[in-house]
Symmetry: C2
Subunit: 358 residues, 2 copies
């Protein structure tokens, strides 16, 4: 920007030389003093700090980045922005990252094409010192690309080899849900999944379905193929999946939804179909979304912010060179019983007050 183009009030920011002049030291000393490096006399440091403050001096990130090779920025990569889970993970990670003095570069994959572009073109190349990858199962060839970035990576809720990972014990959570239904007396249990058609191949969906089928078998039950139905993740997906399931000749007495958002969609469809929950149909979700208490949904709670925060901490350790970059962490899940599950209508047993929408 040449001087003529500048707006009247605008003035070019102070450089490290300006600060050096004002403090009566050399630029290198300014640099050292301001970054808190050792080998700076307290009095000098003080003088430099004051000069910098008076001139509103802040080091140019581009210049120091170019000189040092560090960006003081970390990338957070999510499949979508609109899902509650991702947002909360981002929130948890953001807080830790900012507290550690880094900025957050947010990258939204969006769809399958976006995912491919991400691994192919590596748009975060040289822009970040580390990456938190949320809920993406990294394929082997993708992992190679990631390595080419030359920065540490941690993963939340995804499978990945050779990088730090934090998540929950998904299998334990799913089993918890199935057992709860079984203990209530249900023998006909369906499952509503996400997964289909997004092409983003994110980590969770497949895993939960496999475990569900295993848990059903463990309980000595069988489920029907028409009772295990996938659709897009989210409320609308859950609604559509439930519609499809309800079109079977015989329907189950209980539904396990892969996420609370899918469960919410199910609740809406069941209400519109006039099927009382939990009298005619029990529904259990997964997440403990903040809306779960509003719609009185029984669910498997997982700590979401905490997973983001843990991944960020892992990453920061890795960027600092300490810490095992291959660490894996599994946070606990917990059953939260509310009003959307009850014994099947045929059975005796205690009754819970029904779930209501508002």
């Amino acid at each position: 920007m040449t001087i003529e183009q500048r707006a009247p009030g605008e003035f070019s920011p102070a450089s490290i030389f300006d600060v050096a002049d004002r403090a009566g030291v050399s630029p290198s000393t300014v640099s050292r003093a301001l970054r808190g490096l050792p080998n700076v006399a307290p009095a000098t440091r003080e003088r430099v700090a004051r000069a910098a403050h008076e001139l509103f001096y802040v080091a140019s990130p581009a210049a120091s980045g170019l000189a040092s090779g560090r960006t003081t920025t970390v990338g957070i990569v999510v499949p979508f922005l609109s899902r509650w889970f991702f947002m909360r993970v981002v929130q948890g990670a953001e807080e830790v990252i900012r507290a550690a003095g880094y900025d957050v570069l947010l990258h939204n994959l969006g769809d399958a094409a976006g995912r491919e572009r991400f691994f192919d073109r590596l748009p975060l190349n040289r822009k970040v010192d580390g990456i938190v990858l949320v809920d993406v199962t990294v394929q082997p060839h993708e992992q190679a690309r990631l390595q080419a970035l030359g920065v540490p990576v941690t993963v939340v809720g995804g499978d990945a080899l050779g990088v730090g990972a934090v998540g929950i014990d998904d299998a334990a959570g799913v089993r918890m849900a199935v057992r709860h239904l079984v203990h209530l007396g249900h023998r006909d249990i369906g499952m509503l999944g996400g997964d289909a058609a997004t092409g983003l191949n994110f980590a969770v969906p497949g895993r939960r379905r496999t475990t569900f089928l295993g848990a059903i078998a463990e309980a000595g039950l069988v489920t029907k193929p028409e009772w295990v139905v996938s659709s897009d993740w989210g409320i609308e997906g859950g609604a559509r999946a439930t519609e499809r399931l309800l079109s079977s000749r015989r329907v189950p007495t209980a539904l396990f939804a892969e996420s609370d958002e899918v469960a919410f969609g199910a609740l809406r469809t069941l209400r519109l179909a006039g099927l009382d929950v939990p009298r005619r149909m029990s529904v259990i979700g997964f997440d403990d979304h903040e809306m779960a208490s509003v719609v009185n949904l029984t669910t498997v709670a997982q700590p979401v912010d905490a997973q983001g925060a843990a991944a960020a901490r892992l990453l920061i350790h890795a960027m600092l060179g300490h810490a095992d970059p291959f660490a894996r962490l599994a946070l606990p899940t917990q059953l939260v019983i509310r009003g959307s599950t009850a014994p099947p209508s045929g059975a005796g047993g205690s009754r819970r007050s029904p779930a209501v929408t508002h």
Copy 2:
């Protein structure tokens, strides 16, 4: 990073000189060719492109940033990350920003201290070419600080002078809600607000309350101070506000909630208090949150992604030097009638099927 520290497979990325050598041209030609500048022979451009591709060359953002003064990054600043509205705005803006070739630096204010720090220290200084500010009312002294950044700013849903702004006609939306209740026959109408205690001074809360009181007066009604209650924004805030309101000697027959999330909290409290919605209490929200259809909430819909997208477009125009940086845009709102509003129990009139929670 010295050569010894490098991991085995890692190799230093190609520089613009490497590409120049391989293509048999000078670095400046490489630069021009790769950035699509005019005055490059098609054949040359082609040769350069191939060389760059073969060497996996990508320009160092720090170096080109330092040389050009541009960052190809835009900052999005939000008060919180955990609120649905903000997320959707970010989503809408992100898409436009990325499509225009910029990266997104996400900055979360978090709380009052974070807000102050933001305007005081300007952490986005020289890191972005423009800023989208979400739902922040910019105070005059803050505006001066923003100007010091020397980059264009646009605001979503906030008041701000001298910068582009997009939002909705809040007043029209609020009046729509109040009139709907009045037409149903309600005369005792309360309001649940956010606002209190966050200290973040974000834009919307105060505005909606003022308009609400105006609309009540317009309708020739009166409301009581105990019926207009504020709490933290969000579900828990709405729940607490409703509890407080219900402790009045006489309660209204209808509630206008400042946001759907506040309304959700209200619905939960009303359910727990055994007050049937809409029979004993009508509730109307604001936003058309995706959960509104699940809990059957009547609400005033506003386009959220679209506001973020519009703000991003405004910003990009401003960064490119075209476009009026003072443009203001108001997107339309729309009443969405669902099952949470009905005539008050005393009155006659048509009945709607009740809202249900799950």
